[in-house]
Amino acid sequence: MPIWLELLALMLVAYAIGLAVGWAAWGRSASGANEGEDHK
């Protein structure tokens, strides 16, 4: 596997981890709040 491809794969993994962290920080709480609104 060429080094650039390996590096690209690692960067994609890091990007995905960033997305997951962001979802855990803001996305999860926002969807939980919406669920609460439905029960009003």
């Binding site: 690692l10 990007y15 803001w26």
Partner: protein
């Protein structure tokens, strides 16, 4: 692999930060824009009218002015002449085989009580049956007349013996 990581860690950090920023923009930044558009609640548009109507409904009925001496008793006489309030309807859905739709159809045909159905003869059954559309044939199949006779008489045990539990 470890060499690659140690030499290019800053690239991975940039990718990680980029991912976090994109996630923030999707989950927080995008939502803010949406909230601005949704800030006006369409239900509020008629709120003042609804309040006015509710106030009119809640206002107590006006008290009639006192009757002059010469006209005493006229109000009572008029009230006596007024048609009596319609008799309360029986719940026709108590008849086995009659659901809400069929009960509404019967009401529209002027059939409102068990007494009405109990009094049907063959000719009346044919006439009503012809107006029941997709429910035609139900009167005889489910024996409405017999059911209505028992229900009109208040014979619950007789009804349940013959047609099952109410």
């Amino acid at each position: 692999m470890s060499e690659l990581l140690s030499e290019n860690w800053w690239l991975l950090v940039i990718a990680l930060v980029l991912g976090v920023v994109v996630a923030w923009w999707v989950f927080v930044g995008g939502r803010r824009t949406k909230v601005e558009f949704d800030s006006r609640d369409p239900l509020d548009e008629g709120a003042s009218k609804a309040r006015r109507n509710q106030a009119l409904i809640d206002t107590p009925a006006p008290v009639p002015p006192p009757t002059p001496e010469g006209l005493a008793g006229v109000g009572a006489a008029i009230q006596a002449e007024a048609p009596a309030a319609p008799a309360p309807h029986d719940d026709l859905t108590r008849i086995k085989g009659v659901g809400p739709k069929l009960a509404a159809l019967l009401h529209s045909l002027g059939v409102t009580g068990f007494d009405d159905i109990a009094a049907w003869d063959d000719a009346t059954i044919d006439r009503i049956d012809a107006q029941l559309g997709q429910f035609a044939g139900r009167i005889r199949r489910d024996n409405w007349v017999e059911q209505a006779r028992l229900l009109a008489a208040g014979d619950t045990s007789g009804f349940e013996n013959k047609f099952g539990k109410l």
